[in-house]
């Protein structure tokens, strides 16, 4: 194709799919993250304790992790588009129905169970599995864009909800958030989400060359690609990736829950501690985009290992430099690495195990991540209660990041990843 023809060629439909998944992540994450703004109004109106509200959120967190592999299986077995669409419809209706909250059990069921299960359908884990089908060469880049959308959603919809709540009421705000999902995200899925480029007569990445038997083989198969999710457990990369991702969950969960109290304990004001946390969250957009972009140029596993090392170094600074210095250095370093692991982990999983069971396999890794988060949050709180300091839990979390980096680094990407296969090497590796 000449450069003039290329310039005139219509935009590859995969980019619309990407835009739609970014918007889904944007609104669903934003709506869910907004729960924090409802805490005080609900406490005031119903007299519920902070613990009761925390329990609903904590349950939702676990339900989201536990249902992800099962919803992922539905995604792989049937139609990803349908799973995402049904997930969004239920999520939108559940969010809107929270405006009718009249009883704690209602809130617990709708937010903790229904919404969290529905969110598994429209989750980043599923949309990344979908995008992996549309993009092969730029896979990591688009997955980075997708997770950045989730972060931006938190940064946009939370203030939106906060001011809407101030101007109207918590009931109107919840109804509005549900309406945004139903009226804006759902049409995006309807018009722009398709399961596979082949369904539209297209090829991944918008390639226009006719597939020949040779380039078909070269593009599609890695030596340990699986048809069923259970087969992935018979090879090392699944264990290495999931183990590293569990540590990722341990460290991000611990920090998300305890960073602000820790910073206040180090002498920062509440506002400054929150600002440091906010800077960290804003930087994760840059980190996600950057990791995705670099992952397509330099491979996934080395970069993934580097992300964990960077976060480990951040923990060292946090522990070695008491006070504001350590907190700010940590916020900067950890901010870049916060969600950078997500596009790299999913890209690596897709490259090694293929696309047929990707949503299920990624769902299992995500479950490991969530369990790690949950355990670490409770353990860090418990250790704080016993020792009166966060030094021990943070030291344990930081120390775990280095074995996680080794686990990621030791994945034999060149041997197992479809990116590095030629028809000859595929046959040779399969015969190992």
């Amino acid at each position: 194709m000449s450069s003039t023809e290329k310039a005139k060629a219509p935009l590859y439909f995969g980019w619309y799919v990407c835009a739609a998944t970014v918007f889904i992540a944007f609104v669903t994450t934003g709506a869910r993250s907004s729960f924090g703004i409802f805490i005080i109004p609900l406490e005031e109106e119903f007299g519920w304790s902070r613990f009761m509200l925390s329990s609903a959120v904590g349950t939702g967190f676990l339900v989201n992790g536990l249902t992800q592999p099962f919803v992922g299986r539905l995604f792989d077995q049937f139609s990803g588009r349908t799973v995402i669409m049904v997930g969004l419809i239920i999520a939108g209706l559940a969010t809107a129905s929270l405006s009718l909250t009249f009883n704690y059990l209602f809130l617990f069921f709708v937010f903790g169970i229904l919404l969290s299960t529905a969110m598994s359908g429209a989750s980043v884990t599923n949309t990344m599995a979908l995008l992996a089908k549309w993009f092969h060469r730029r896979r990591s880049t688009v997955l980075g864009i997708n997770v950045a959308g989730a972060s931006l959603g938190g940064l946009t919809l939370v203030p939106f909800g906060m001011f809407l709540l101030q101007a109207t009421s918590w009931r109107v705000t919840w109804a509005a958030l549900g309406l945004i999902i139903l009226a804006l995200a759902l049409p995006m899925v309807y018009f722009f989400i398709r399961n596979d480029p082949a369904d539209m007569g297209l090829q991944p990445d918008g390639d226009t060359e006719e597939p020949t038997p040779a380039n078909k083989l070269e593009r599609k198969r890695g030596p340990i690609e699986v048809e069923k999710w259970s087969e992935s457990f018979r090879s090392w990369p699944m264990w290495q990736i999931s183990a590293a991702y569990t540590v990722c969950g341990i460290t991000t969960g611990m920090i998300a829950a305890h960073f602000v109290p820790y910073a206040i304990g180090e002498g920062l004001s509440g506002t400054l501690a929150a600002l440091a946390f906010g800077v960290m969250m804003a930087l994760n957009v840059v980190g996600g985009l950057g990791a995705g972009f670099l992952g397509d140029r330099f491979g996934r596993k080395n970069l993934l290992a580097a992300v964990y090392v960077l976060r480990g170094i951040a923990f060292i600074f946090l522990l070695l430099f008491p006070g504001a210095t350590g907190v700010w250095i940590f916020a900067l370093l950890a901010g870049f690495s916060w969600i950078a692991s997500v596009p790299l982990t999913t890209s690596l999983t897709a490259d090694v195990y293929g696309l047929r069971a990707l949503a299920t396999i990624s769902g299992i890794s995500f479950l490991c991540h969530q369990v790690g988060s949950f355990v670490s949050i409770l353990a860090a709180g418990l250790l704080f209660d016993i020792t009166g300091s966060y030094a021990l839990p943070f030291a344990i979390g930081g120390a775990l990041l280095f074995p996680a980096a080794i686990a990621a680094f030791s994945v034999r990407e060149r041997k197992y990843s479809a990116r590095y296969q030629t028809p000859l090497s595929t046959a040779a590796a399969a015969g190992d």
């Binding site: 907004s34 991000t252 988060s373």
Partner: protein
């Protein structure tokens, strides 16, 4: 400790639910836009609406361009066909 559990919200799928952070964001936005909430609602609402509208607009523009290109591409074939009909 249990109170802090709610603030861990979905590490990797949306964070930023810490009440201190929310308070700080609100103060900063109040400072920028004044104390009226509707200005912030309008701006944030515009951003939220703009994304799907922009994507839809790009798609429609591309679709129009594709239709135009298809029309131009198909014209010579029709002319050839007409010429062939005239020959006998």
């Amino acid at each position: 400790m249990p109170a802090s559990v709610f603030s861990f919200i979905l590490a990797h799928q949306g964070d930023a639910a810490d009440p201190e952070l929310l308070r700080w964001i609100k103060v900063q936005l109040d400072h920028i836009f004044g104390s009226g909430p509707w200005a912030v609602i309008a701006i944030m609402g515009f951003i939220i609406l703009a994304i799907p509208i922009f994507v839809g607009a790009v798609y429609l523009m591309q679709a129009n361009r594709r239709t135009a290109a298809d029309t131009i591409d198909s014209e010579p074939i029709q002319q050839d066909g007409q010429e062939q009909e005239r020959v006998p």
